[in-house]
Every structure is written in structure tokens, then in C-alpha cells.
């Protein structure tokens, strides 16, 4: 299963919850930080890094000797990354989304693939958990293309671990779970991070900002038709509006982390909060169990469908 830990508002405790879940998750797992603008999961999991790769985007590179200045590429480009000014063809690689349209439409095959560095993918091992993150280059504006590359790497690591865990041919027996630390907000990067998940865990806090941003996140993720649950961080601070909202939308509150200065100080010193006390460990083990139950329904549905097909019944 793939679990995405998300939130509308930043700083509600996504990384706190993700790192604690990774720590108590007693199954084969991959911790994946998709908050590529400000990745923080590694600061808590402290993985041993075993690999790093530069991630890039194929941007237009014009071969002047072949270019006939027909302007088809600049007419097509929706992002102002290529512009024909009189007899001068200018490229602005930082504007390019990497759609490949210019390369495909050029009648002279004059446009080749240049490389814009988006950032790095970094992977390794954090205790029993595999670890993967993307880190956007400072100055790079677009996080979704880097997130796509990290997700490709995630597939590769998942496949590799399945092979290693299963014996030879039977890869289906042990497919690692994935815990994704998603970026804040509700626009394209956040959606991109949760779009492949089986379950979305929304982390919020009982404050007016927390509730308002939870409403936005709920509205944004609802069209994905994925099961969602809520963790309330800093419970006891603020007011009751978040509980009313969750009741109204039938969102299950799966855990409440109390508002406590000790927890905040432990977080500030870089500790994983499921490690700080037996209560916190129980809280997160319980949360992990609830998430699995919520997702096992889904798996049972699929098994049921498969069994029905096998038995010749039409579903």
C-alpha cells in the first residue's frame, strides 16, 4: 500500500507524523520525501545515503545550422520557452515544462535535447526502512517534473525490493509499503504527491488556519476518490471547529497528538516522536494499525472481485 501524509497548511506536523509512522511500521517499507522544495524527512530518519542522481528535464537546444526560422516551435510553445523575434530564435530553458512539442513539430529536426538540472534524487537506508527523497535545486521553479522522476525511482526501488524479498519468481508475496511525506498546499505539487496513493492521511491542527486549510485540502483531494483520515496535532490548543468539520464530512480522526511543550522540544532537537515515550509509541502503532485496517478493506474488495471473476461470476 501507498500512504500519503499531506496537509493544506504547512507546519502542521506532516514530517513529524511521517517519520514516526516509518519508525513504528513493522512491515517492509520505503520512506519517500516528495516535499522536494523543502525536504525534511531525512533530518529525522537520518538515513545512510547510498546513491544520488542528478535529475534533469529535456529542454530545447537549437541547431542553428538546421533551423529555417519557420516559427512552428514558438507558435506551439505555451510557456514562452521559445520565441522567434524577426530572424532570431531565442530559447528560455527555465520556462520550459518539457512537453517535447517543439522537438516533435520542427520540420528540420533542428531541435535537440538540452538539459536543465531540476535537482537530485537521493536514496539510502534508514534503519529497517528504505529511504528516497527528491531535492529541488535552489532557483528551480518547477517541482512537479522532479517529483515525477522521484516517483519513477520509487517504482524501481519497489520492484527491486520485491525481488529481493520474494524468492526468485514470486514477487507478489512481499511488496513494500510506501510512506510519502507530501508537500504542503493544495495545488499541483501536493496533488501530484498524493495522486498514486491508496490512502491520504491529512495532518491538521485545531486552529482557524488549520481548519481552513484542511477544508481546502479535503476539497482538492475529494475528486481523487481515495480514503482519507485525519490526524490532529497539538490537540488541546485552539478550538473545536476542526472536530465539527471532520464530523460533518465524515472524516475519521485517527489520532490526536496532544499539545505539549515537551513534544515540541523533542521535535526541535530532531527526535522521532514515537521514540520519546511509551505513550507516543502506542499512539503511532495504533495509528499504523488503523490505517492498515482502512486499506485492507480495499484489498479485500479487490480479492473479492478477483475471486468472483475466477468463479465465472460477472461483477
Amino acid at each position: 500500500m501507498i500512504l500519503a501524509v499531506a496537509s493544506g497548511k504547512g507546519g502542521t506536523g506532516k514530517t513529524t507524523v511521517s517519520s514516526a509512522l516509518v519508525s513504528v511500521w513493522n512491515r517492509t517499507r520505503i520512506a519517500c520525501d516528495l516535499d522536494v522544495e523543502e525536504p525534511n524527512l531525512h533530518l529525522f530518519l537520518r538515513p545512510e545515503i547510498t546513491g544520488t542522481e542528478k535529475a534533469g528535464l529535456a529542454v530545447p537546444e537549437i541547431d542553428e545550422s538546421k533551423c529555417s526560422k519557420c516559427g512552428k516551435c514558438s507558435d506551439l510553445c505555451q510557456f514562452k520557452a521559445i520565441s522567434l523575434m524577426g530572424e532570431l530564435l531565442l530559447t528560455f530553458p527555465e520556462m520550459c515544462h518539457g512537453c517535447g512539442g517543439c522537438m516533435a513539430i520542427c520540420p528540420e529536426q533542428a531541435i535537440g535535447k538540452g538539459f536543465r538540472e531540476l535537482g537530485d534524487t537521493v536514496w539510502g537506508q534508514a534503519g529497517e526502512s528504505a529511504f528516497l527523497m527528491g531535492r529541488l535545486r535552489v532557483g528551480e521553479a518547477m517541482s512537479p517534473p522532479l517529483m515525477r522522476i522521484v516517483k519513477e525511482k520509487l517504482k524501481e526501488i519497489t520492484a527491486q525490493m520485491s525481488r529481493e524479498q520474494g524468492d526468485g519468481d514470486s514477487v507478489s508475496s512481499v511488496i513494500p509499503d510506501v510512506i510519502i511525506d507530501a508537500p504542503p498546499g493544495v495545488s499541483c505539487p501536493a496533488l501530484n504527491a498524493v495522486s498514486d496513493s491508496d490512502f491520504i492521511l491529512l495532518v491538521t491542527e485545531p486552529t482557524p488556519f488549520g481548519v481552513y486549510d484542511l477544508e481546502l485540502a479535503h476539497e482538492a483531494f475529494l475528486p481523487l476518490h481515495k480514503p482519507m483520515g485525519v490526524v490532529i496535532n497539538r490537540a488541546g490548543l485552539g478550538d473545536n471547529a476542526v472536530y465539527e468539520f471532520c464530523a460533518d464530512k465524515e472524516l475519521q480522526i485517527m489520532a490526536e497528538i496532544p499539545y505539549d511543550r515537551g513534544i515540541a522540544e523533542n521535535y526541535a532537537s530532531g527526535r522521532i516522536i514515537s521514540d520519546i515515550s511509551p505513550e507516543m509509541h502506542r499512539l503511532f502503532s495504533g495509528l499504523a494499525g488503523k490505517i492498515r485496517i482502512a486499506c485492507s478493506h480495499k484489498t479485500m474488495d479487490n480479492l473479492y472481485i478477483r475471486a468472483a471473476i475466477k468463479g465465472g461470476n460477472r461483477v
Partner: protein, 296 residues
């Protein structure tokens, strides 16, 4: 006209609460001299404290999305093959997933049956408003939409026009979290960045990245350490970092639930409380004002 942009890299450090307090203090000194601007278009929260009354509300239409017209589609699969964003599924019928479509027009252009429409995208709304601390420019990007950078640019343009029209000398902007597209847009033309940090591993890490971004665009910046007493070691490290980078150090604020209490009452913290915490915020604002004098 001077623009102060409040950033943080990491979310939840107190950007919006402090921006509201600064708007209050600016208005207290000279009412109507500041245009307030919420550039966190993705998850805007400043209006929850400022309760602005909208005077103008406009649609934000930006970019396009591809839509396959079933009656014309011949199911050749070219669109699926050519889409670099994995936005066109092939089965059972070709369909564009609007959440993945970036509006590049490649499928529209290469469809041999001309079966793909290219429609302008209504991505959100933006507003001109009046608040008790002065005129305000804000917006709302519809959930899941892109083009947040363009919406940020639009808001900055409107804020600038409004400031000129009303002879305001300051634009005070609440920025988005992160270091990506909307942050880069919000930095364009900013005079001074105020970074709200916190002494946690994430707070320091994200401050380093957002500082590098400010250096990249050559915009002067200063740092506030919020919740400073949570970890004195990292707090000291952040001060050292400021000194190394020759950034202005704007002051410490203690970890204090008074920020949340004020938020629940829909007030700026400096309106709600007039004791220690607000005194500390006033001192920080004075330091920012001095720094502003240096760069004006």
C-alpha cells in the same frame, strides 16, 4: 514604493500571524499607507485575521486544458504516446486527466482527427478589498490548480497599482511556503525579505535554502527566530548563520500560545495582547523599519 515580503521556507513558522501583526503596527503608525497582499494563493489564511470586505472580485483565467471530443476521436493513441505528463489515458477510451494536464497543446496539435479541444482554464479568483489595516489584495487558487506563479505575479501587479493610486509607500506581502514557482514569482521586485524561522532541524534547513534563493535573486533579507526558546542550540546556530551571511538579525520571539488565542478571536496578536509577546513583536517591527530605511 517599498515591498516587504514575509517568507519562511518551512510552513507553520508563524508567517501569517506576524504579517497580520506588522499590518496592524504599520496602520497604527500611519493608517492607509500600506497595501497588504496575501501571496500564499494556494492556502491563503491572512483574511481569517483581517476579515477584508471585497470591493472587486475577478476570475483568474490562465493557461488551457485539453479535452478529447469523443464523437471525433478515432482512438489512434497518438495523444497518449506523445503526452510527456502521463495525462492521457488510453483505455477504455482516450481521456485527459485534468489534474495531470499541463496545457502544452501537444496532443491538440498532433491529433490527426482534430478531436481535441483546447479550453481556457478558470483557475481561481482574485480580490481587491478593504480591511481595518488598509487596502488588501488577495486571491484564491481553486484546489488542485496550477499557474500559482502567474496568479502571484498578477497580485503583485495589482498591489503595486493600488499603492500608486492610493499613494501608499509600503506593500506588505505574506509569502507562500517552499522555494518553488510561487515563491520565485513573489520575490520578483521585492525590496526586503523577512524570513520567519524556528529553531528546529527543519526550520534551519529550510531557512538555509530560502536564504540561498534570496541571494540568487540578490534581494536583501533579515531573519526572525520565532519559538526561539524551543531549542537554544539551534537558535544560536541560526544567529550565527545570519552573521555568516551578513543578513539582518531582526530578533527573537518566544514560543507562546497567545498567537493561537489571537487567531481564534480573528485578531492580530498585537491587538489581542499588549504585554510581553506583543512588545517583542513591536521591537522586531521597529528593527524591520530601521532596516527598511537602509535599503530605501
Amino acid at each position: 514604493m517599498f515591498e516587504i515580503l514575509v517568507l519562511s521556507g518551512k510552513g507553520g513558522t508563524g508567517k501569517t500571524s506576524l504579517t497580520a501583526a506588522f499590518a496592524h503596527l504599520a496602520a497604527e503608525k500611519s493608517m492607509g499607507d500600506t497595501v497588504i497582499c496575501d501571496l500564499d494563493v494556494d492556502a491563503p489564511d491572512l483574511h481569517l485575521i483581517l476579515h477584508p470586505q471585497q470591493t472587486v472580485s475577478e476570475d483568474f483565467v490562465s493557461g488551457h486544458e485539453a479535452v478529447i471530443l469523443e464523437e471525433k476521436c478515432e482512438q489512434c493513441g497518438i495523444c497518449t504516446d506523445m503526452c510527456h505528463f502521463g495525462a492521457v489515458s488510453a483505455t477504455p477510451l482516450p481521456r485527459v486527466n485534468p489534474m495531470k494536464c499541463e496545457g502544452c497543446k501537444v496532443c491538440v496539435t498532433f491529433c490527426p482527427a482534430q478531436a481535441i479541444a483546447f479550453r481556457p482554464k478558470h483557475c481561481g479568483e482574485w480580490y481587491l478589498s478593504e480591511s481595518r489595516f488598509g487596502p488588501m489584495v488577495h486571491a484564491r487558487l481553486f484546489p488542485g490548480e496550477e499557474n500559482s506563479g502567474r496568479l502571484v505575479s498578477l497580485l503583485k501587479q495589482r498591489a503595486k497599482e493600488l499603492a500608486e493610486q492610493k499613494s501608499c509607500s509600503l506593500v506588505l506581502s505574506d509569502g507562500p511556503p517552499g522555494i518553488g514557482c510561487p515563491v520565485i514569482s513573489s520575490l520578483s521586485g521585492a525590496s526586503l525579505v523577512v524570513n520567519v524561522s524556528e529553531p528546529t532541524p527543519s526550520g534551519l534547513h529550510d531557512l538555509e535554502r530560502v536564504t540561498e534563493l534570496c541571494e540568487h535573486f540578490r534581494i536583501p533579507s533579515g531573519v526572525i527566530i520565532n519559538k526561539a526558546d524551543l531549542n537554544e542550540k539551534i537558535s544560536t546556530r541560526i544567529e550565527e548563520f545570519c552573521a555568516e551571511k551578513k543578513m539582518g538579525f531582526l530578533g527573537h520571539l518566544p514560543h507562546n500560545p497567545v498567537i493561537t488565542e489571537a487567531m481564534i478571536r480573528g485578531q492580530a496578536v498585537t491587538e489581542y495582547e499588549s504585554k510581553d509577546f506583543s512588545e517583542a513583536v513591536r521591537k522586531v517591527w521597529n528593527t524591520i523599519s530601521e532596516m527598511k530605511g537602509k535599503y530605501q
